[in-house]
């Protein structure tokens, strides 16, 4: 097992900076998710950790040891590819035995280790099957087992669930988390799916455009986004953000939201921060934290999406568009104007110019 430290990591392909700068500490045994839209630099980061690509600048340290110049076969890294990269011309047994065999382990030891891993992953009955035309969850287990047999200090997983259909993904998520608990390895998990990151990771590193946006526990990233990007990216739908300016109201500091009028009074901590800031703000709140029919923002209903257990209701449009998530039996009709009040605790403020959160923690 090993911790990972990324120190000022930069990766350029010609003129294009895939990773502008990255500093990240991953603790021993931690499950870290690298989350971001495609092209954000998460896979590039992962490939550099694995040794498939050389960093343009900066260092990668495993447990304090600089990995520069260490070839990928010698880093003690297990890698699970997006499509698993199973050796389809071999049997399951040959796939599992591949690593030890290539490293010249004696035959009896290879057999013993294959048996142990197969037992752990419940691959025993499938050992003599050819590795093509197996189901996805078995392929995933082979891919993990094939790496795990070498007892790597670090496990890297590159969007392993992106080729799986939605219903099965939930099963696979559970299985993966379960496997991580068994192996107790440091895991780095690259994904663009926040649900995967939220459900499995100890901590999430949110990335965008080659820049690390925020690192934190899933709840922390959800509750206290560090900036506008994270606020919009995390959550489905993301946080509502309305432009405004701080203004003195009757019952304390409010945000003047222009055509929408004034916001409900801000909690003390945010009021203090907004007062210090003084300039243009973005007033943010979660769609899940809206109360209907309380004095607040008056907005027309423009669209109602019913998604099973819940309903996503769209209010207003353009710069004043707001989304709310309610129980699916919510009695709202398109055209009707309602008043909404963001839950006091859920309100967050961001600097309109830099997009950074004001007075971060709540």
């Amino acid at each position: 097992m090993s911790s990972i430290r990324l120190d000022n990591l930069v990766k350029r392909f010609g003129d294009f900076a895939a990773l502008k700068t990255m500093d990240l500490e991953i603790a021993d045994g931690e499950f870290m998710a690298l989350l971001g839209p495609s092209g954000c630099g998460k896979s590039t980061t992962m490939n550099m950790v694995a040794g498939m690509e050389e960093p343009s600048e900066g260092r990668i340290l495993f447990g304090g040891r600089d990995m520069a110049g260490v070839p990928m076969g010698r880093r003690g890294v297990g890698f699970v590819f997006q499509n698993y990269a199973i050796f389809t011309h071999m049997t399951v047994r040959q796939n599992l035995a591949y690593g030890p065999r290539m490293r010249g382990a004696p035959k009896s030891e290879v057999e013993r280790r294959v048996a142990a891993v197969a037992d752990l992953l419940q691959l025993g009955p499938l050992l003599e099957r050819r590795a093509d035309r197996l189901s996805v969850n078995i392929l995933q287990r082979i891919a993990i087992g094939r790496s795990a047999i070498l007892e790597p200090a670090i496990f890297l997983l590159d969007e392993p669930l992106s080729n799986v259909d939605a219903a099965f993904r939930a099963v696979m998520r559970t299985e993966l988390k379960h496997l991580q608990r068994q192996f107790r390895q440091t895991m780095v998990y690259v994904t663009h799916d926040q649900l995967e990151a939220m459900t499995m990771a100890d901590r999430i590193a949110v990335m965008d455009h080659g820049v690390l946006q925020q690192v934190g526990t899933p709840l922390d990233v959800y509750n206290n986004p560090a900036n506008v990007f994270v606020a919009r990216f995390i959550g489905a739908p993301g946080m509502n953000l309305l432009p405004g300016r701080p203004a003195e109201g009757d019952r304390g500091l409010v945000v003047d939201l222009g055509p929408l009028g004034a916001s409900p009074p801000l909690p003390d901590r945010l009021a203090a921060a907004a007062r210090r800031h003084g300039g243009p703000l973005l007033y943010g709140f979660r769609p899940e934290a809206l109360e209907l029919g309380r004095p607040g923002l008056a907005l027309p209903v423009t669209f109602v999406e019913r998604i099973g257990a819940r309903a996503v209701v769209h209010f207003g449009d353009g710069a004043t568009a707001v989304k709310g998530v309610f129980a699916n039996d919510v009695g709202l009709a398109v055209g009707e104007t309602v008043t909404l009040r963001p839950d006091r605790g859920s309100v967050r403020l961001f600097d309109a110019a830099s997009g950074r959160a004001l007075a971060g923690e709540g």
Partner: protein
């Protein structure tokens, strides 16, 4: 195939034959619709074969003054076939062909595989070298023959280069020495057909999944181990195809060789095609030629069927 499949394999093949929808009526219609095409194919394939078989059982020659259909007047049963078994020149031509095959095809394979491995990666000037590399394949074999004929003259460039390398004047009479003539002919064949091998093998090599190669590297396999455990097994089918194509083609080696040496000196480079050509045009005993050609066809067909079975097996495995 017999009506009642005997072996297990036959049973599988039999089951795979699709039953026509609509029963016998549809089958009869299908038969009638494909009849013209079948007759045509039969005429193209079967007629020359039967004609050959017929002539091979006679002493017929074109200068006898009777049409081939009257060849039965010169019927000699299986005499041509018994002659064939006793024909030393035929056997030595076959043996020589085998040697050429066993040298040229592996050489072309190894060179082609090496070049393909090189070209699977990026390097500056790759496109230019690629075009140059494919050029020999596009040269008309007769022209290539003439080119190598000139290269291997005693006063030719090959000797000049050897002189330059050794520092002493070299004047080897390549094409008049029985052994060296065979070497020269093989060099020409390897030059001309390595590109084809390269092209086929490169296609196979590019098809090896990159992520499996990366996975193998991450699991600790070095370049040679990756080649043996991933690349070769994945390329099995394409290697069998490439070898089969070249073996069949090389067995028929003729044009380049004929222009370079004419089969000589003496019979030193007389391969099977050259021998058949000579018997046909010089000895004019066509009944015998037909017998040789038919015998070779039968032997080659057996080899081809065997190779194709292996190929099918490899494809299922891959």
């Amino acid at each position: 195939m017999s009506a009642v499949p005997a072996s297990g394999e036959d049973a599988v093949t039999a089951r795979r034959v699709p039953r026509p929808v609509g029963g016998d009526e549809a089958a009869r219609l299908g038969f009638r619709l494909t009849l013209p095409a079948q007759v045509l194919v039969l005429f193209i394939a079967a007629f020359p074969l039967l004609m050959q078989l017929y002539i091979s059982l006679t002493d017929w020659a074109p200068l006898d003054g009777i049409g081939w259909w009257r060849a039965w007047e010169l019927w000699n049963g299986f005499a041509n076939y018994t002659d064939l078994i006793a024909d030393d020149r035929l056997w030595s031509a076959l043996w020589r062909t085998a040697i050429v095959m066993l040298v040229c095809v592996p050489a072309e394979f190894l060179l082609g595989l090496g070049l393909a491995t090189l070209f699977a990666d990026e390097f500056p000037g790759k496109r230019l070298f690629y075009s140059i590399l494919l050029m020999p394949m596009m040269v008309v074999p007769a022209v290539a023959g003439y080119m190598f004929f000139m290269l291997f003259q005693s006063g030719g460039p090959v000797n000049d280069i050897l002189s330059g390398l050794t520092g002493r004047p070299v004047a080897i009479a390549w094409l008049s020495d029985p052994t060296l003539a065979l070497v020269a002919v093989m060099v020409a064949d390897i030059w001309q057909w390595t590109p084809l091998m390269f092209l086929i093998l490169l296609a196979g090599l590019v098809g090896v999944p990159e992520d499996q190669m990366k996975a193998a590297t991450l699991l600790g396999a070095n370049a040679w181990q990756r080649f043996v455990t991933i690349v070769l097994p994945k390329m099995k089918t394409i290697i069998v195809i490439a070898l089969a194509i070249r073996l069949i083609e090389n067995f028929k080696i003729f044009d380049t060789l004929f222009i370079m040496t004419g089969g000589g000196p003496g019979v030193a480079t007389e391969t099977i095609s050259v021998y058949i050509y000579k018997v046909t045009t010089q000895d004019l005993i066509w009944g015998y030629v037909a017998a040789i050609a038919l015998a070779i066809l039968v032997v080659l067909s057996i080899v081809a069927v065997f190779a194709m079975k292996r190929m099918a097996a490899a494809r299922i495995a891959a």
